[in-house]
Each structure stands twice: as C-alpha cells, then as structure tokens.
Symmetry: C2
C-alpha cells in the first residue's frame, strides 16, 4: 500500500528546499545550519509541539501563524535554540520576515523553528546573510541540504519519502527530522518537517498528524529529557489532485497509516542516532490487557538507564527488563511474563513465567553485539500491543553531554 | 537537638552485628557479603519496601514476619538478589531458619533481605556456612563489617549514628545503608537497616518510619530505576527506657525529626556514591506554590540525564535545569524562575526571570569542579520548599552497568 522511495522533504510536488552554512555558531565554518523549505502554492498546514512548559519563542510564533491552517514555507536554524532569551519572540518574528522577503511569501505563512543551545542570544545577522545567499537557489536537490542543516549532534541526516494511492491518484509524502539528545516519548523529536502533495483540509491534516504521531514519534526515547523546541510540522500542497480529504473516510485512514509508517521510520532513525548511541533498541510488547498497559511497559523498558547500559555491553541482563516492567505502572501479572532478545543473529529466550530460564551466554552475546536489537516482551494477559524505540547508553552520551556548549 | 556520633547499626543499646565473606558469588573470595544484626531483646519493628511490582521473595517473607510488629534479627546477603527465581520464597525462608539457628531467635522474628543480580538462583550452602562462622562472633565492633557486607557496587560503607533526648533519656539511633545503582525516588535505597534503643510501639514506629522516609530516602535518585529489593527496616529495643511513645506527642515529633536527619545523611551518602558518580548533586527548590510542586521540580532536575552529564563535565548549562523544570509537571511560572550553582568555591547566579544572565564561565567551572554541588532553584511563586539528592552521570556508570553480571 505504501512504497518507500528515495528523497526527502522535496519529494512531493510543489516543494523545494535548501540548506547552507550560515555560521550561527561563530566557530562553525562548514556545517550547514540554516534551511528554507518552500512550496510554490499556499498549503494547508498543521503542527504539534513540545509539552515542556519551557518553550522556544519560535513555537509561539509558529502557533500564531498556523491559526488559519495555512503555511507556505519553513525557516529553521541549528546551533542556537532561541529559548529562554528575553528577545526570543522578536527574533523568531524576524526570522519569518527574512524568509518572507527571500521567498516572496506572506510572513504569516512562515513556520519557524530553532534547535541548539538554550539560553544564548540568537545572532540574526548570519540568518539574514544566509537566507539571502539561498535566494533563488531552492531546488528539489536542496532537500538533502535542508536535512543536514537541522542536525545538531546527529551523526546522520534523517530523510524519508513514500508514495501511496488516494482516490486513484499517487500521493507523495516526504520528511526530514533531527533528534539526538533531549529526546523523550512526549513528542519525542526535536524537529521534523513533513510535506505532502495530498489534497486534505487543514482540520483533517491536524487530526492525521495527531493520530500518526502516537505510535511513532511519541514512542521514542533517547534520554528521558523532553526538549523545549520540539516541533513537528506538516504542509500539504494538494498538487496530487486526489479528491480532497474533508472527513475521516477510507482515504483519510490510508493517509494516516502512511504517515504513521513514515514517522515510524524517522523515529527509528532518531533512536538509532540518539546521542552517543551504538545501537537501536526496539521493545515489542504483546499480550497486554490494554493498549495503555502495552505502551507503559514498552516505554519503561526502553527508558531504563540500567538496561540501556547493559545493551551497550551486549549483556543479556533480562532481570533489568523485568525490573523496568515492574515499575512501569502497567497492570501486569509478573508470573506470566516472557522475555526474548532478537537481532539479525537470531533469537534467544531468557525469561519465562517471570523467572529466568537457562540460555547460552555466548549466543546472547552474539545476538546483542548487533546494532539493531529487539527486546520482545510477552505479557500473556491480553491482546494489546505496542512498540517503543530507544538506544543504548554509552560513554559517548556522557562525553557529548558533559561539555556540549563548548 | 540531634548529635551525630561515631558508629552505625550497633550504636544503640542491645544491638550487635557481624559481616563476613561467604563467597555467595563463587568468584568473590574477599569481600564481605553476608551480615547478621541481632538484638538481645525482642524489638518492636517496622519496614517499608520497593513499589516495584517485581519484588524479591525476601520482601514477602519479611512482610509476614513483621505482621505482629516484632523482630529480633536481620540476615542479609549481597551478591545475589534472590529475585525472579522459582525457589526464591523457599530460599528466603531458609535464610531466616539459618539466622534463627545461629542466633537462637524465633525464625518468625527474623528480617531477611538480599541484593545483587536478579534472576540467578541463590546458593544456600555458602549462607549456611557463613552464618555458622559468625556464631558467637556478633559484637558492637561488627557493625561496620555488616555495613560492608551489604555493599554491591558501592565504593564506600554507609553508616550513621546519632543521639537525641526523649523524655529526659538519651536515645540512640544507628543505621547502615547500601545504594549505588537502580536507585530512584520511590523509596530510593536498595537496603537500609536502622536500629534504636528508643521505647516506642510498633505502630508508632511504622508511622515514624513512613514520615521520615518522605524527605530523605524518597528524594534520592541515581538512575531512575526502582529496584526490586528495596527494604528499609527499623528495630527498636526500648533499652533507653524513655517513656514509651504510644501516640503522636512531642517525643514522637522529636524522634521523627531525628530519624529524618539520619536518613537524609544516609540518602546523601547514597547519592554521592551512586554508580560511577564523581559528585553529589543537591537540588534545593524554594518559592514553590505547594510542597508537591517543590518536590516535582527538585526531583525532575536531579533526574535529568542531560543535566547529570553536564555536571560531570562541570558545565554551567542552566538551560538544562530550566528544561527539566519545564517538563516536571509542576505548576510553575517560568518567567519567575532563578537558578544558581553553589559549592565550597562559591555561588554563581546563572538565570533570572526565566532567562540567562551574564556570568563568568571560568567561575562557573571552578564551582562545578567541586564534588558537592548545590543547584539552587527559586520559583518566586510561593513558600514551599524541597530538596532532592542525586549524582552526576559519568563514563563509569556506563562501564559498571555495561557488564555488571560478569
């Protein structure tokens, strides 16, 4: 039903983008840190944001601009979060004006976001110069530069593109994301911008975004810290000319499922590239009494520092999985719990009926030395399932965060 | 009112103890790993336990034995948690029988606890032999050996002793604790045994224990993982001959305040010696609307992996303090928040009215390089206060937990 294709945020019809090095941190002379995303027509648009009480002023500005459900461009920088600054709001508005001028769009139709260090004044001059340098240079190829420009301590770009069929028409969805640290299961991304050429009303787009985020971005944790700048925004150009989605019909369901799959792929990329991470952890929970119980268990396991450290050490320490299940707050009968570890090297059962079973430590090690690990938890108490995404806890997480600002 | 004195669990009248190396882990040939604590009279007793659904069977046995509010001895081992084992209950009962035999006490009056790896069968023979070797050897001096015997990855013994005056009589309280990893703010210790010669009913003892734990052990976090074996037990011999505390009178209040102070000292020792920790973090919150808000903020700050890593790096990254306040769930007006860092090298203000203020990075570094740091948060919105205890996140935490079982 969905087909992943090459490309990113510029894959859908109507969208172009670019990213350049604007030296927002004066010491940065090479890494792209400013991006523009543009659509040649006014889009229906929606966004969800961090639930942290401490919010970047960019969020206040973007919320105002999306009140009418319309947007045509995104301006976003890395290197500075523009958060907890007295002049944050003013600077965020200024960024929209800059994008408006360079792209020839109404400033009220610009989405703005920032990511980086909290509490340092955002220098506006590099943004003016950087945006000016991109004037007339936005292109289909520029999408990948935009993906790079939003990275902070990310080590790889995160892009996705997929097609699906809605009302007989091929609809494309594209997206970029950045994650790394300060990632938690409450809208667990720092920034993600998603585009589509689907025809869909702003209201339905917002509903679809909120549904799709639940089983994807909301199931990721790197370190349990909810960022101040989380922004996930989507713009729909309507250029695919499918019958406009105006209610929760079959096309809507198809669209939501497609978005969910796309977000899941990006969520896994975020988790795998969590700060200092050496491996992706996926906790698959089944047999829960309710969906909420399954979610609680999978999140608790993926968030346990002790388990994350054990996974780094390729240690099949299933006792820590049980411990995390025990304090998850879920309604669980521990005596029915089974745990297995799985990777491309095979699968090993380590716990049944809430107690350890004999297993080969060598086989366990072999499985856990891979860079994508599934922690399979069977609760044996119902039919609900959930899946959460995380990463191991490594020396490099400590190193990166021990001195991030310098 | 309270006077801290030298000594530990044997400081109060009537108590003796011992600890030896029983080689519960076969590879351990030197570290003490089995302890007995004994009182020469039957004590009133009470305990609180982990809230993890996954519980060591030692907890079930201890709960049964404390139903009548009486105890006379403790047997405790490190090196194996006796948790998630099919024969866990039977082994815990057997440990009580062993203590009963060696100490000549009723087996129903024995408190039992275990700490170490989850899910490995507890070998009973070393415990039989080890306890036998302690027969007739419990002494006042043996208390410090008992403190050593309950350590796992702890690097220092945790002992405390204090005196107070109740009804004109000098009452002594003594205690030992072990912490290190898997420490969270829900009864945030793995094991602690406290003794006193105060005369107090079992009911009042239980009330006092529950009150004292709130502002002490319940405010510690090392890594956010709630252990399966947490046990805090107290025994009161009555030998100080103060007028027995039978209701919540002035003596009761004095006793609770003393216990709270003693627990706080032990809690700080746990935090300072958290797995891999290089420094103690104390988050002092004032000006909160309610006590619950103050607690939420202080715990959230102390639990933030990002802040903990920044403190390891002596980086005055106050943005992470604000971020943690923002997702704490407390009712806070961010625009009123101020943050300072303090140590023996001085104090530095870094944030006021929710925004950064200029400060000397060099001075910040100097302050944060010390091994005891206060993070002072002023919410400016009320009169409630709280204090939470934690530690930094270091390479050694990852190292210790990357391969704990081998």
């Amino acid at each position: 039903m969905y087909k992943f294709i090459d490309g990113g945020v510029t894959a859908p019809q109507g969208f172009t983008a670019q990213g350049i090095c604007a030296s927002i941190k004066p010491s940065n002379k090479t890494k792209r840190d400013l991006a523009l995303i543009y659509c040649d027509t006014l889009c229906n648009a929606a966004a969800v944001f961090t639930k942290n009480l401490v919010k970047s002023d960019t969020i206040a500005v973007t919320k105002e601009h999306l009140k009418n459900g319309k947007a045509q461009a995104v301006i976003v920088n890395s290197g500075n979060a523009n958060t907890c600054n007295a002049d944050g709001y003013e600077k965020a508005v200024r960024m929209c004006e800059i994008a408006s001028d360079v792209l020839g769009v109404d400033k009220e139709n610009v989405i703005v976001a920032s990511t980086g260090v909290i509490g340092e004044i955002l220098p506006i001059e590099p943004i003016e110069k950087g945006a000016e340098a991109m004037r007339g240079k936005l292109s289909k190829d520029g999408g990948t530069n935009a993906a790079e420009a939003i990275m902070t301590t990310d080590t790889v770009k995160k892009e996705i593109a997929m097609t699906m069929t809605l009302g007989g028409k091929t609809v494309t969805v594209g997206g970029i994301a950045k994650g790394s640290g300060m990632i938690h299961i409450n809208m667990g991304t720092m920034l993600s911008f998603v585009t589509t050429d689907a025809a869909i009303t702003a209201d339905m787009l917002e509903c679809a975004l909120k549904e799709a985020v639940e089983d994807s971005y909301n199931m990721v944790s790197v370190d349990g810290d909810t960022s101040t700048n989380d922004t996930l925004a989507i713009m729909a150009s309507g250029k695919a000319e499918n019958p406009e989605i105006t209610e929760k019909n079959e096309d809507y369901k198809t669209f939501v499922q497609g978005l969910t799959e796309a977000f899941r792929m990006l969520a896994k990329k975020l988790a795998a590239d969590g700060e200092g991470a050496s491996k992706l952890l996926v906790c698959k929970v089944s047999g829960a009494k309710t969906k909420q119980d399954a979610i609680k268990v999978s999140k608790s396991v993926i968030c346990s520092s002790l388990l994350k450290a054990a996974m780094f050490g390729a240690d099949a320490n299933w006792g820590r999985v049980l411990c995390a299940i025990g304090y998850s707050g879920a309604d669980v009968d521990i005596k029915k719990v089974a745990v297995s570890f799985k990777s491309s090297k095979g699968i090993i059962d380590v716990c049944k009926d809430g107690a350890g079973i004999p297993f080969s430590e060598e086989k366990g090690k072999e499985i856990l030395l891979e860079n994508e690990i599934e922690i399979i938890v069977t609760l044996g108490d119902g039919n609900s399932e959930a899946e959460a995404y995380g990463c191991d806890l490594t020396y490099d997480y400590v190193k990166i965060n021990g001195d991030y600002r310098t």
